[in-house]
């Protein structure tokens, strides 16, 4: 597969953010191509827990997550599928007073961003959520949070982008990219030569590699969430459940399966494989019954993982390159990018079309990691 392409925008990485950016840019009439080394949504966007959650985020992310939450309601009109999104609410649990204080501090601060979070304690906690284990002393509930099916969201954006005229190339990794006076020059593993005026780096755990080609320094650690699912059980847990600290989280699908996770599995970046990891799997089963004792009678039928990119401060990189005009980055979502993906796509499209975004991006600047590679080397 060789050939030449001359584009307005080239996108490296087929997660939700990249596919959404391709969709918006193609709709505005730009020529866009997206290159994905495997298949659309095959890593962080596709293998995550499926939590569409604002509760518990760093406040710096709330303007972006608020924007994304509005898009989740509009998915059918945007991509022709609801992605199985349901606003089930997210219940975050405290197992001691210190954790309860963390929850209450978030609830208070979130109000400034228009995010409603309710405190639930005492008799009401037991009455509303009788399935909770005795170690739970209190919780906060964000009713607008919810869940969706990560396996179909990014591919849904990918198909919508194709229908809008974007080219989405799967199984085609980018070997290298450079920039000269004529714009970006991109060569794929399939030998395709691409030129583009703008380059968007949404390469997830591989985002730092792409950034490095242009001297942008970002320390990224690849991690692999340890995910499990049980056989179907009677539908009881109708909210997503998490804990302060995040060592276990769970949700139940309407058909009854309990999806849960916690801790990190393992990965091998050389072969791009990842597993939930048997040690973590066994530990997470113990933690699950700590918050949902009734799940102790179930069987786990499957475990899985993928590869996500984590930054040192767990905030993403989102915005322009320090070194290279026309280069945009959006990666390092540190295990909580699923909810943000649709808005990140919109923001990237705004940056390409207008050079600025209505959403504050300063906390996500790549500059916080100390600038250019040459200087740090």
């Amino acid at each position: 597969m060789t050939g030449r392409l001359s584009l307005d925008v080239a996108i490296i990485g087929g997660g939700t953010a990249g596919c959404a950016a391709a969709l918006h840019l193609a709709r505005r009439g730009l020529s866009v191509a997206l290159f994905e080394r495997r298949t659309v949504g095959s890593q962080a966007s596709g293998v995550n827990f499926g939590g569409v959650r604002e509760q518990g985020r760093d406040f710096a992310e709330l303007p972006l997550s608020r924007r994304s939450r509005r898009i989740w309601d509009e998915l059918p009109a945007l991509i022709g599928s609801d992605g199985e999104f349901m606003a089930t609410g997210h219940l975050k649990l405290a197992r001691d007073e210190d954790q309860m204080a963390v929850l209450e501090a978030f609830a208070t601060g979130a109000a400034d961003y228009g995010l409603a979070v309710e405190r639930i304690t005492g008799n009401r906690l037991r009455a509303d959520y009788p399935w909770l284990g005795p170690k739970v002393i209190g919780a906060t509930l964000c009713r607008s949070d919810g869940q969706a099916n990560p396996r179909i969201v990014a591919p849904g954006f990918g198909q919508a982008a194709r229908r809008a005229g974007a080219q989405v190339f799967e199984h085609e990794a980018v070997r290298h990219a450079t920039r000269d006076a004529g714009g970006f020059r991109i060569e794929t593993e399939a030998g395709r030569q691409v030129t583009a005026a703008t380059l968007i780096n949404v390469a997830g755990a591989w985002g730092a590699t792409v950034a490095g080609w242009f001297g942008d320094a970002v320390p990224i650690a690849p991690r692999s969430p340890s995910m499990q699912v049980t056989e179907p059980l009677p539908y009881r847990v109708k909210v997503n459940v998490g804990v302060v600290g995040g060592d276990v989280y769970a949700r139940q699908t309407p058909r009854g399966n309990v999806i849960f996770g916690g801790g990190q599995g393992w990965n091998d970046m050389a072969t791009i494989t990842s597993r939930a990891g048997e040690t973590e799997v066994m530990a997470a089963m113990r933690r699950l019954t700590g918050i949902l004792p009734w799940a102790g009678g179930a069987h786990v039928i499957r475990t899985w993982s993928g590869i996500e990119g984590f930054t040192p401060d767990d905030l993403p990189v989102l915005g322009s390159s320090v070194t290279t005009p026309g280069l945009l980055h959006a990666f390092g979502f540190s295990g909580h990018g699923f909810q943000l993906g649709p808005a990140v796509g919109e923001v990237l499209a705004e940056l390409v079309l207008t050079g600025r975004s209505e959403t504050p991006l300063a906390p996500f600047s790549i500059e916080r990691f100390g600038g250019v590679l040459a200087a740090s080397a």
Binding site: T39, Q159, E231, E278, G296, H299, I301, T303
Partner: protein
């Protein structure tokens, strides 16, 4: 040097023979078997307290079954035998083993998978109705539990088990409503010379047909299944005859199947390389001529490596054991391995003839009606699967699974996977070997959360 730990997974004909050979040479293997008693599926023992004779239980195979059971029991303390053990993960050089509700981590140096096979099915309308069984399941009910699946039973499919199980039911006094083979008569005739050249095993197979005829049971060729009829239980079987005319036969149970498929999920987790085997129309783990997989220290034998029946399984079990002996610095095994190779060569012609006489009817999978349940674990219909393919454009079967839930349930696609791959291949316009293979994910079978709580199991 410390002695190597050799673990055998499976105590059927392949695993038993391998354990015997290793024990003879002073190696004490750990033998893990999911079943409560050794013998595998084919020589499955009857439950405690049942007293049927070997002749009654195993027919032509009685002497071999008894010899196998006796030989295994005689191994006694020379092997570390652990029945009722579910191996649910392989990670690095460790197995996770669940037994009696307790989990244990077992390290190994060499590992032999003798994990056998399971029934291969193609969903058809009504296949989830109570009263519909696989051929293997029907046979186990009779042999193991001394139960028939019904009083008037239809048998259909394309499998060496088809005439055999029908005959076993007839011999047990069950009314056989008919035996319906999806393979055209001409394919059987074409395979006949190979079967005849296959010695006593081939002749035994032919004798099943003759004995069915003697009992007045008709063997239909070239049929197409239409449906198992009935709402709460099966009341009939509808099919098209070779000429395309529809008929219906009253029955209260149906047993069907299309041969068997290798159980290789653990080898998949261990990272072994696979290849598509055109003769048996299924994926199998690649091995060298002596059963070594692509992963150092991991070996395969028996039907889990390649569907070929109990005789071949025992030979390949011995072969893999001798490969292990050679690889662990034992005496040269060249002569013994040559003898096994010669014996296996004699089986090859018959095996090929059987594969041809009972081919996998891929067209039936490709033509599953839209309203027929394809994945029964997740209750996904064939039409929903096709719609997911059309909407999101998966290019291989794991993607199609992610988009549709087909193969995502508790059997992980063991049952519906082959048919799903055929449907996907049809939609893609490609051969099924290019539709890919459902990846295995731990646990290979469901594991109870209760076994992993603080008070129990592994402290790790």
């Amino acid at each position: 040097m410390r002695p190597e730990t050799v673990i055998i997974v499976g105590a059927g004909p392949a695993g038993i023979r391998a354990a015997m050979v290793l024990a003879e040479h002073g190696i004490r293997p750990v033998v893990l078997d999911e079943a409560p008693m050794s013998g595998g599926q084919i020589f499955r023992r009857q439950p405690q307290g049942f007293t049927r004779s070997y002749a009654k239980l195993y027919g032509y195979e009685a002497r071999r079954a008894e010899a196998l059971h006796t030989a295994f029991d005689a191994l006694g303390p020379r092997i570390d035998y652990r029945p009722g053990a579910l191996v649910w993960n392989v990670e690095g050089r460790r197995l996770q083993v669940l037994r009696d509700g307790v989990n244990e981590t077992l390290a190994f140096d060499r590992l032999l998978f003798a994990t056998g096979a399971m029934d291969r099915v193609i969903p058809f309308p009504g296949w989830t109705t109570p009263g519909v069984y696989t051929l293997g399941g029907a046979q186990v009910a009779l042999k193991h539990q001394a139960c028939a699946i019904g009083r008037r039973v239809v048998f259909f499919g394309s499998s060496p088990l088809l005439p055999l199980v029908a005959l076993q039911y007839a011999a047990a006094g069950v009314a056989v409503a008919g035996v319906f083979d999806t393979t055209p008569r001409r394919a059987k005739i074409a395979a006949l010379p190979g079967v005849l050249a296959g010695g006593t095993t081939g002749l035994k197979g032919l004798s099943y047909l003759a004995r069915l005829a003697l009992k007045g049971i008709r063997y239909h060729h070239g049929i197409t299944p239409v449906a198992a009829i009935g709402d709460r239980t099966v009341t009939g079987f509808a099919y098209l005859d070779a000429g395309g005319r529809q008929h219906e036969t009253a029955c209260d149970a149906v047993a069907f199947g299309y041969g068997i498929k290798s159980e290789w999920q653990l080898a998949d987790l261990a990272g072994c390389r696979f290849a598509f085997d055109a003769d048996t129309h299924q994926w199998r783990v690649e091995t060298d001529a002596e059963g070594r997989s692509s992963v150092e220290g991991i070996y395969l034998a028996g039907d889990g490596a390649r569907i070929a029946g109990a005789d071949v399984a025992a030979e390949t079990g011995e072969r893999a054991a001798r490969a292990i002996l050679a690889d662990t610095g034992g005496p040269d095994q060249g002569a013994a391995l040559s003898t096994i190779a010669r014996r296996l060569a004699r089986h090859a012609g018959l095996r090929q003839a059987i594969d041809r006489a009972f081919p996998f009817p891929a067209h039936l999978a490709r033509e599953i009606p839209d309203d027929c349940i394809l994945c029964r674990c997740e209750a996904v219909r064939a039409g929903e699967f096709r719609a997911a393919i059309a909407a999101l454009g998966p290019d291989e079967v794991n993607r199609a699974k992610a988009f549709s839930r087909v193969g995502m349930g508790r059997c992980q696609g063991r049952v519906c996977g082959p048919a799903a791959a055929e449907i996907l291949a049809t939609e893609l316009g490609r051969p099924v070997s290019e539709a890919g293979r459902l990846r295995s994910q731990p646990p290979v079978k469901p594991i109870p959360i209760a076994a992993f709580q603080e008070s129990k199991g592994d402290a790790a």
